[in-house]
């Protein structure tokens, strides 16, 4: 019986080991976890070792090799969730369910897990329960939810508010997630008509003309790295390959970012149209939306959108009457790994493997998915290409600053009155943004998520643009009541310890060592030498392979640079060395086991 389903799943994906991630997610959906027996079947059928299958499973935190609760609660432990009271919520879940996080109730009903940022920073604390999102949790809600679980009610019945605005209320989504669009620009405008760009513009242009229009717009990648989009497309167009692929990177995992969630909810047609335009430009026939597992609640809806686009001849064969232009899109789910937002890790992951970054060159535009030329563009980048072709490169260049053209969709969260989505032209200062979002007594702003910088008030006049403060869109605001070292820097450092893929030694070790240093300093055992070592060690991070590795020490480095006083206040001035070792704690466990009173 069990094996039948696994065999069917393998058959469904043509015994293609590159689709392992899909198979694992399907098997888990059916049984709640991936058993040893099922791993054996997969290994046999796919001609891989059990260790190969196992290493993929253990890499992703939503894949489980042990049975979990019928209701599995994934509570977001990102920074903003904690600021909004996550600890209380967590304790309440533990109290109500009678288990600790990481455990399953004896009756197998409920399991509690922590998870990294789920893209709901404007409505925390939030949790994912059996793929459904629960936002703005309170201790009262926790009681209600656990009670409903004890009564075996379906998860959908546990909502107690109306659905969120916009498409969140669509019968295909029915989610309580709110968009919180506070300011919209060209991307979030209401007058977008799907297919107009393909029908009225692209059909009259050659692929090279499309690429040169994008190049002229000076559009740069919106995921964070800021690579010129037109150039990427041109490289891919010139690369030789029997097949080419367009990936939309919807893995937004940078804590504090949630703009792609809103774009995918409100403008999925625009995202898919952008992918289609890219396909036309580079000569690709296959597209993949790599969607983070956290956004699986959008699945039915997005599939329907794709089907509708087929119906309108905006996907499929001879798209918009352009003879010979065939393109189709499928959705590929991730399974919970921040690193998969890095384009080569994303490709590895889509090939069913551990999401470890590839050494470069070759770049994905030459050798990407399955070894073929591949474009990986962020959700927002693809939407921007549609507005550029709609209105022209000249119009686009008028927006923003000379070298950072266009608009940026910002995800603003933390200590402000109006957290949410703000689409702004590049060139606003942090002060402007604080005013816009109703933030007061601001102590610091984290620009660009944990991999970005912790910016102090003295630099609030700095401008958001590629040449000054570049950002993938995450801005988290901290007011004077926050303990920056304990709450912010520690949380971000723990995040990087958790999310390092483990491939490069410095990235695997240094964040863990920095965490220890922070703990030591917090405990009052720090000395000046510790600060010096933090700086020296952080420099080593530059030899890591990918962007995560390069930036994983940033929370500590930028806070040490911009808020040195906070560190100085905690370290011992008159001591040159303090190991911080606590001998009585170190011998407690062994003495207890052998029944001996410690004498130190």
């Amino acid at each position: 019986m069990t094996k039948d389903f696994v065999h069917q799943t393998i058959k469904k994906f043509n015994s293609d080991s590159y689709r392992l991630l899909d198979m694992l997610l399907d098997i888990q959906q059916e049984y709640g976890y991936i058993s040893k027996d099922n791993i054996s079947v997969l290994a046999g059928e796919l001609n891989q070792s059990e260790a190969d299958i196992g290493q993929t499973i253990t890499f992703y935190h939503f894949l489980r090799s042990k049975p979990q609760g019928k209701y599995s609660i994934y509570l977001n432990n990102s920074i903003v969730s904690k600021m909004m009271g996550m600890d209380k919520i967590a304790r309440q879940f533990e109290k109500e369910s009678g288990i600790k996080f990481g455990e399953v109730t004896k009756d197998g009903q409920i399991s509690l897990h922590y998870t990294s940022c789920i893209g709901m920073s404007d409505q925390e604390p939030a949790a994912i329960i059996n793929e459904k999102i629960f936002t703005n949790l309170t201790t009262f809600r926790v009681k209600e939810i656990v009670l409903a679980m004890r009564q075996g009610k379906p998860v959908e019945s546990m909502y107690c508010t109306n659905f969120g605005g916009g498409k969140n209320s669509s019968p295909l989504v029915e989610s309580v997630v709110r968009n919180n669009i506070r300011r919209s620009g060209p991307l979030l405008q209401l007058n977008y008509v799907p297919g107009q760009v393909l029908q009225n513009k692209v059909s009259l242009m050659s692929p090279d003309e499309v690429i040169s229009e994008i190049k002229d717009s000076h559009l740069r990648g919106r995921g964070g790295a800021g690579f010129p989009t037109g150039l990427k497309w041109q490289f891919c167009r010139r690369a030789k390959g029997a097949r080419k692929f367009i990936f939309c990177n919807a893995d937004e995992g940078e804590p504090g970012t949630f703009k792609d969630r809103v774009l995918l909810t409100e403008k999925p047609e625009m995202v898919f149209e952008g992918m289609t335009v890219a396909a036309y430009a580079v000569g690709a026939k296959e597209g993949i939306l790599y969607l983070r597992y956290e956004y699986k609640y959008l699945e039915t809806y997005l599939k329907q959108v794709l089907q509708d686009l087929h119906g309108k001849n905006l996907l499929g064969e001879n798209i918009s009457g352009i003879s010979g232009f065939d393109f189709d899109i499928r959705i590929q789910y991730g399974a919970g790994a921040y690193i998969c937002g890095e384009e080569s890790s994303l490709i590895e992951s889509a090939e069913g493997k551990r999401g470890e970054p590839r050494p470069r060159p070759p770049f994905p535009v030459e050798k990407g998915y399955l070894g073929y030329p591949t474009i990986v563009n962020n959700v927002e980048t693809l939407c921007s290409t549609v507005t550029i072709l709609q209105n022209g490169a000249n119009w686009y260049r008028e927006l923003g600053t000379d070298e950072s053209t266009g608009t940026k969709v910002l995800s603003i969260s933390g200590d402000c009155l109006y957290p949410g989505i703000y689409e702004l032209e590049w060139g606003f200062s942090i002060n402007d943004i604080l005013e816009m979002s109703g933030a007061e007594s601001t102590q610091a702003v984290q620009v660009g998520g944990p991999s970005g910088a912790l910016v102090p008030p003295s630099q609030f006049n700095r401008i958001l643009c590629y040449s000054d403060l570049a950002t993938g869109g995450s801005l988290i605001i901290f007011n004077q009541t926050r303990d920056l070292l304990r709450d912010v820097v520690m949380n971000f450092t723990e995040f990087f310890v958790e999310e390092s893929c483990g491939s490069c030694v410095p990235c695997r070790n240094i964040p863990a060592l920095l965490k220890k240093k922070l703990e030591k300093i917090q405990a009052g055992d720090g000395v000046r030498e510790d600060l010096k070592e933090i700086e020296e060690w952080s420099n080593i991070m530059q030899i890591n392979r990918c962007g995560l590795g390069h930036t994983a020490a940033n929370p500590v480095i930028t806070s040490l640079k911009n808020f040195r006083k906070l560190y100085e206040a905690l370290i011992q001035k008159d001591v040159n060395f303090d190991s911080g070792i606590d001998l009585s704690a170190a011998v407690a466990e062994s003495c207890e086991f052998v029944d001996r009173i410690p004498q130190l």
């Binding site: 040159n576 060395f577 190991s579 911080g580 070792i581 001998l583 704690a585 170190a586 011998v587 407690a588 466990e589 062994s590 003495c591 086991f593 052998v594 029944d595 001996r596 410690p598 004498q599 130190l600």
Partner: protein, 181 residues
């Protein structure tokens, strides 16, 4: 200047680093012309009889006695050197660091397949050092001045470093000497 005084010890190590030290071969004759040994297995002096210039520490700290000796070395020696992987990173003994000390003790004294201990006697005599929750590298206990990598550090490296320290000259550390594999 009077001859510099050297002390050495092996904590949670296997004495392999000391064996490598002896691998300086006939140069040991040169060395004893240059230095005097105090507390060390090399001359079997068990307790410090005077302050020393250089202390070589093999092994990390797995119990309270290791900590005690290491702290004593720090007090008595001007320069303290972590000598080999175990002193620098905990080395092989630190493989237990991911396992709780309770599990380790249970495996060793109660549950191990070759264990015969019907009365379930556990080592708890006051005379015995207490076991630490994990194996600590030396620099997490006291300030260490230098680290000599290797498992064990090569005899030539040990000779070159001691020679340089004693004569106050520079030491060459080519890649082959400090590489990690």
């Amino acid at each position: 200047m009077s001859r510099p005084i050297i002390a050495t010890t092996s904590l949670a190590g296997c004495f392999g680093c000391h064996m490598s030290f002896l691998d300086i071969d006939e140069r040991i004759l040169d060395l004893i012309e240059l230095v005097e040994f105090n507390k060390s297995p090399i001359d079997d002096i068990k307790t410090f009889t005077k302050d020393c210039d250089i202390g070589l520490i093999e092994g990390g700290c797995c119990n309270t006695e290791n900590i005690h000796i290491l702290k004593e070395f720090r007090k008595k020696c001007k320069i303290l050197i972590s000598f080999g992987e175990c002193a620098i990173m905990g080395g092989l003994p630190a493989l237990r660091n991911d396992i709780s000390v309770k599990e380790c003790l249970a495996e060793a004294y109660l549950d191990g397949i070759s264990t015969v201990n019907k009365e379930e006697i556990l080592p708890n005599d006051e005379e015995l050092p207490m076991i630490l929750n994990k194996v600590y590298p030396c620099h997490e206990v006291v300030k260490m001045d230098y680290h000599l990598p290797g498992c064990p550090p090569r005899a030539d490296l040990i000779w070159d470093v001691l020679h340089a320290l004693i004569l106050g000259t520079d030491v060459e550390l080519p890649y082959e000497v400090v590489k990690y594999d």
